[in-house]
């Protein structure tokens, strides 16, 4: 069993380190015959093609009383398209070992495809069918809806989901970001096939389409494949605007009573936007406080010294219209208050004092070195290229990233630590934490 688990498995976008191996990795900008742009990395060592793409407009496009619409589309898109019913479509995929995936975040609808090179035309044809001619047969929709409702029903007693959902709902009330992409037991039954078709019509379009391809394929063939899958989509999407927003409820603590031996804690506050000049400094400071390695302050204080939890960490999470810093842990009920007090005092200390020069140097070294590790498979490289494009970081970001990290000074780190952690936190707890009650000194 892993020595460390990320206590928060649902974070929409965490910052991925990208490889400098990358200096060896050539990214090509390509344009398909019909004019669709994409990034391509040629990789001859394995006989496969990995595609990763994103449309703007994720679950933030869902109507409040129909939240979960985009997610239901994603879950139903491979249930038959064109002349192929669900059975025929799934057989065509598996007969050629083609892997298609669809998933939804708050801002984007994303897709993945992996195929052996010999079946790539078939793979991109099947993708086109799903994107342009989904059947949405009643039988398939009801079956998938039943699966989603079963999963939502399970979540009603799962402390991880309870703490997490409560955090988002409290931080972003009356905003699409406050609603889970999966919807709720109340909203998922309301979604009609007309809602799903409306989502497809508004979101699946060629403008604001981001594509990355990695594989044993050249630019010409890649361009043809892109047109095969995406060329017949409408030229323009039709999205509802999403208002800019910041997290509310800072200073509040919400305890959700559920009968489990271990209390689950979600904590966090406002973060820093991806395009903010202070982003890299914030990223480093967060790594020092609660990032994913075994050397963060929270890991040391909560786990190593006191054995209060198996895992504790926090991450920067950013969207197009908001940014937060969000963390989590799970601790025994009679020590939850202790664990939370340590997290709060360490966060406060980071805000007031910032990191030391040694910590900053170690974190920079880690963040530069670990860059290569996240680019060790075609699918991961393709996913990362899509993220770089969505975040508008530029095709040379991979080369520039090391220098951007090096440029952060101790003074920058201290200033940004105050900005990031000086505002206090919203805390949600699910379980039966001893001596810990909800408190309401909200902003």
């Amino acid at each position: 069993m892993s020595r460390l688990v990320a206590p928060i498995a649902l974070i929409a976008l965490v910052f991925f380190a990208v490889a400098p191996a990358a200096s060896a990795m050539q990214i090509e900008k390509i344009v398909s015959p019909s004019g669709i742009h994409a990034w391509l990395v040629r990789e001859h060592a394995t006989p496969l093609v990995a595609l990763n793409y994103a449309f703007h407009g994720g679950s933030s496009q869902d109507a409040p009383d129909k939240s979960g619409t985009a997610n239901l589309v994603a879950d139903t898109l491979d249930e038959g398209a064109g002349d192929l019913d669900s059975k025929a479509y799934h057989e065509r995929l598996e007969n050629h070992a083609i892997e298609l995936g669809f998933n939804v975040g708050r801002d984007y609808f994303r897709g993945t495809l992996r195929t052996l090179n010999e079946h790539r035309e078939e793979a991109f044809d099947l993708l086109r069918l799903a994107l342009t001619k989904p059947r949405f047969d009643a039988e398939a929709i009801e079956r998938v809806r039943g699966q989603e409702l079963a999963s939502l029903r399970r979540e009603t007693t799962n402390p991880n989901d309870l703490a997490y959902r409560s955090w988002w709902a409290t931080a972003f009330p009356n905003h699409p970001y406050g609603r889970e992409t999966k919807g709720t037991l109340e909203t998922v039954p309301n979604i009609t096939v007309a809602d799903m078709r409306d989502y497809v019509r508004r979101v699946f379009a060629r403008n604001e389409l981001t594509i990355s391809i990695v594989g044993d394929i050249d630019a010409k063939a890649a361009g043809e494949l892109i047109d095969r899958a995406f060329g017949s989509l409408p030229a323009k999407n039709d999205l509802k605007p999403v208002p800019q927003v910041s997290a509310r409820g800072i200073g509040r603590r919400i305890v959700i009573n559920v009968d489990v031996p271990q209390a689950v804690v979600t904590f966090g506050g406002n973060g820093i936007e991806r395009n903010d000049p202070d982003f890299m400094a914030a990223y480093i400071v967060n790594h020092i406080l609660g990032g994913g390695s075994f050397s963060s302050r929270l890991y040391r204080e909560v786990r190593e010294k006191r054995g209060l939890a198996y895992g504790v960490s926090d991450s920067l999470v950013w969207f197009r219209r908001a940014a937060v810093v969000l963390g989590g842990t799970a601790t025994r009920a009679d020590r939850t208050a202790d664990a939370l007090a340590i997290i709060e005092s360490e966060t406060k200390r980071m805000a007031e004092e910032g990191p030391t020069a040694d910590e900053l140097a170690a974190a920079k070294s880690y963040l530069k070195g670990s860059y290569a590790l996240s680019l060790d498979s075609s699918a991961k490289i393709a996913g990362q290229l899509t993220q770089i494009q969505l975040d508008k970081l530029g095709i040379d970001y991979i080369q520039r990233r090391g220098a951007m990290i090096d440029a952060v000074t101790v003074a920058d780190a201290k200033r940004v630590a105050k900005r990031l952690y000086g505002g206090g936190m919203l805390v949600t707890v699910a379980g039966r934490p001893k001596g810990l009650a909800s408190s309401d000194k909200a902003d």
Partner: protein
């Protein structure tokens, strides 16, 4: 938790068997896998992949929870945690700090049959992490000051993985009922009342008994040549003396299963009842030639994905289930498990769901599988092996789990060939022979509707 290799992760390679020489296997246009044995008994497997300048370095000890002394459940995993607490030469935390400073990733995991530690680092840092890992192979030092807080950590891990998770609790109960005599019936994480009593001396004793070069396999995947990796291994691991007296892996074996068993776990948090069943079946090591591969294909046809018999019949056609599937784990040193599971739909009871599941299995036993199903399953399983080549960490993990559960490098490399040879008759025979309910335990997870006491531990 046991690591389950669902996708058997290796493509077909030809192998030139040789004794003292490394075994090198050339793959069409791709990497060669080398297999060496050092003088002190350490096995080294190198899987070159030069696409990015990083390496995955793993050490796999052939010891897991099934090797614990009765009464000390959780000890193998506890020791895994304590291996990060420093040695005579390298104080606590130094190894992790060095890995972090070079931007590496590290972690460790424990199964019934193995305990593994890994680092993923830039190519040029390989020797350094090999040096640290060789040092903690015999140099571990423990004090109560670090052992006692870590015992709290594993208790919290037990809460997180099992206590807070009704499905995991059901899985523990099924294993305990399935294995009448074999220690696979104990949870890897341990039983809480025994975990609470584990001591420093328990951990050190276990360590001295089982950790040594002659009980370990090092797997290195990534940007390194086999000869260079061998040289580094000789300079690091090669200096560690052989451990004498490591006991053979002779665990108490299972008697022939004779009784259909079922159990019910009621938990107040259950919102969706479910059924999990495990059959006692052979692993690759304990199977006759071809049996394990037939079980692999059977599991795929019966219960993997949207085209599988269980999903299509129970979820799509009859609409009695929300989910349904099957799996098989070939990587166990002793007998292994074949699993069947599902969540009934809102208008279906668990007994109805079980009967429907049994009918799907009975139909497969009676009529066998179609040529299309067989072909599709083989295509998918073999493609998974090709996809696995795209990720060095996946490859390292697959070789490690195989080599610590009785496979050879050649067995791993020829796995796709053996899958290709499986016939429809073999799949039907496997279903008839192994999916006999007398070999199984069926567990039902239901909601506990009794009023709850205020306190739970």
């Amino acid at each position: 938790m046991p690591v389950r290799n669902r996708a058997f992760a290796v493509a077909a390679l030809l192998i030139a068997a040789a004794a003292a020489q490394p075994t090198l296997a050339a793959e069409s246009g791709g990497a060669k896998v080398a297999d060496y044995k050092l003088d002190n008994g350490l096995e080294l497997v190198v899987i070159p992949d030069h696409r990015t300048p990083v390496v995955t370095h793993m050490i796999w000890y052939k010891v897991g929870s099934a090797d614990e002394t009765p009464g000390k459940s959780g000890l193998a995993h506890f020791l895994e945690h304590l291996m990060f607490k420093g040695t005579a030469k390298n104080p606590a935390g130094l190894f992790s700090q060095v890995v972090a400073r070079i931007g590496g990733h590290e972690n460790a995991f424990t199964s019934t049959d193995y305990t593994a530690y890994f680092q993923r680092v830039p190519r040029d840092d390989l020797k350094q992490v090999m040096g640290f890992e060789a040092d903690r192979m015999t140099g571990l030092q423990l004090t109560d000051a670090v052992v006692l807080p870590e015992r709290e950590v594993i208790l919290e891990e037990q809460n997180q993985r099992v206590g807070n998770n009704p499905r995991a609790r059901l899985g523990e109960q099924i294993d305990a009922a399935l294995f009448l005599n074999h220690p696979y019936g104990r949870p890897v994480i341990g039983w809480r009342h025994e975990m609470e009593g584990l001591t420093r001396d328990d951990a050190i004793g276990f360590y001295r008994r089982f950790y040594g070069p002659n009980n370990a396999v090092v797997v290195i995947a990534g940007d390194v040549e086999p000869a260079a990796a061998l040289k580094l291994a000789e300079e690091t691991y090669g200096k560690v003396a052989r451990r004498n007296g490591i006991p053979p892996r002779a665990r108490p074996q299972e008697p022939p299963p004779v009784a259909v068993r079922s159990l019910t776990l009621a938990d107040p948090r259950v919102e969706m009842p479910m059924m999990q069943r495990a059959y006692l079946v052979p692993s690759f090591r304990t199977a006759k030639p071809g049996q394990s591969e037939a079980l692999e294909v059977l599991a795929h046809i019966l219960g993997s994905g949207s085209n599988s018999r269980l999903y299509r019949t129970l979820v799509v056609d009859k609409n009695v289930a929300v989910s349904a599937g099957a799996w098989y784990d070939s990587t166990a040193f002793d007998m292994s498990k074949f699993g069947v599971y599902g969540v009934p739909g809102p208008n279906t009871t668990l007994p109805e769901f079980e009967a429907a599941t049994d009918a799907v299995i009975a139909d497969l036993v009676a009529k066998g599988v179609t040529p299309e199903e067989l072909e599709r399953a083989k295509t998918k399983l073999i493609a998974d092996a090709v996809y696995a080549h795209d990720n060095q960490a996946t490859m390292a993990r697959w070789y490690g789990s195989a080599l610590t559960t009785g496979w050879t490098v050649e067995d791993v490399q020829r796995w796709p060939d053996r899958i290709r040879k499986v016939t429809a008759a073999e799949v039907q025979d496997a279903a008839r022979h192994w999916l006999d309910k007398r070999r199984s335990v069926t567990g039902f997870l239901i909601k506990d509707k009794r009023p709850q006491a205020e306190k739970r531990s």
